[in-house]
Symmetry: C2
Subunit: 254 residues, 2 copies
Amino acid sequence: MPLAPSELRVLVEAYLDELALTPELGSLSEPMRHALGGKRVRPVLCLATGEALGARPEGLLPAAAAVELVHSFSLVHDDLPSLDDDRERRGAPSVWAQYGEATAILAGDALLAEAFRLALSYPTGAVARELVEATLGMIGGQWLDIRGEGARDELHRLKTGALFSASVGCALAAVEVPAAEQAPWRAFASELGLLFQIVDDILDGDGVVLDVGVDDARRQVDEVVERTHARLAAIDADTVVLRDIVDGLASRTA
Amino acid sequence: MPLAPSELRVLVEAYLDELALTPELGSLSEPMRHALGGKRVRPVLCLATGEALGARPEGLLPAAAAVELVHSFSLVHDDLPSLDDDRERRGAPSVWAQYGEATAILAGDALLAEAFRLALSYPTGAVARELVEATLGMIGGQWLDIRGEGARDELHRLKTGALFSASVGCALAAVEVPAAEQAPWRAFASELGLLFQIVDDILDGDGVVLDVGVDDARRQVDEVVERTHARLAAIDADTVVLRDIVDGLASRTA
């Protein structure tokens, strides 16, 4: 009996709560842990992908946490005054607003390095390779964004899509799914990233909503959900929990 | 006939000049390349270690470049106004002074991620593991430093020693030297990092010079050189080029 998304989330929270950070980081661990809030969408997706492939969630937790740490790293740096200048994150002060800029820069750096340390805990280097490609894509996306360059689709592909793909890709890598069998999984991940982004735009009233209006945006959600389900149906694995994740992301209200 | 340090440096420069950065980074590559100046002490040490182990320098270049990119990443972030607030680096504007803070933050992030990408180009994950441990140590050292905490020895071990060790350690990892045979190499790397730091203090007139005076600091250099030579002599490999590197670091004037 596979674990439901809410059960996977509990595993992620417990793992992150007890995650031993590198001792040399000392008290930098406090702002790092402050940064580690969130809905755990990506690590749950990673665990559910592993489950669908027959892997126990416990073995996927370092990969799932690595993805979440990369996500947190990017938020901590993006929130900085010289970038997006966000003082709040998830209803609390952002890391720089709480601890200062210098601390936020180092805490972000440390989150990224810890993510790679976790990804490198697997015998294969493939998990870390997956993560590094996504990280570089995200940084490229943020660079385009702060310069006001890049079409929206390209920005979304880099800023959101890359790490959604890596959430699935890190599970494929950890379970050592051969490259030739990964295409259907990656097609699913790509649609799911798009779904997440459109729903985000609807919740925030920006992006695609500004272009086509909220009603048309909701129709796009329905279409992407249909395509995402079709991608899942094409995968030869028990994808029932992943289907729950799709439906949960489509209907989320926060 | 092993290549001399100056010849190894030429290889490093050529490799870095032609290094293809991730295409998604786009024009962020310009400030990244601006950051990549320097004396190449660490990559040359990496190549010379590989040579001593019988490996061709060409095969070690990605590891050597990865170490240099981590070094550059740390300088780009450390120079930022909220950290060390350095407007100059090697006689030119630092990255933030030239391109702005946002660019420097992203360029530093991208240098770190590219470093891991290079380290992960080896079949073994051990090169990247070596690098991530050193990176976490360096970040911990910078954290202690900006808070005015940590004894000088501890700061040097983390801020300088960790990446010197990794310069040797990445070569050991790339050549797949068994862990049980690495201790003499690591003992050498540790002394070499100390040597580099004391000479740095003498050239800058700070650190150990403020404690014991320049004459005593020079005596310490002589003692560390002697110990470093002894460590090399204990290694069962052709370490003649590494000996040249030791002597070059001891007598450097910049």
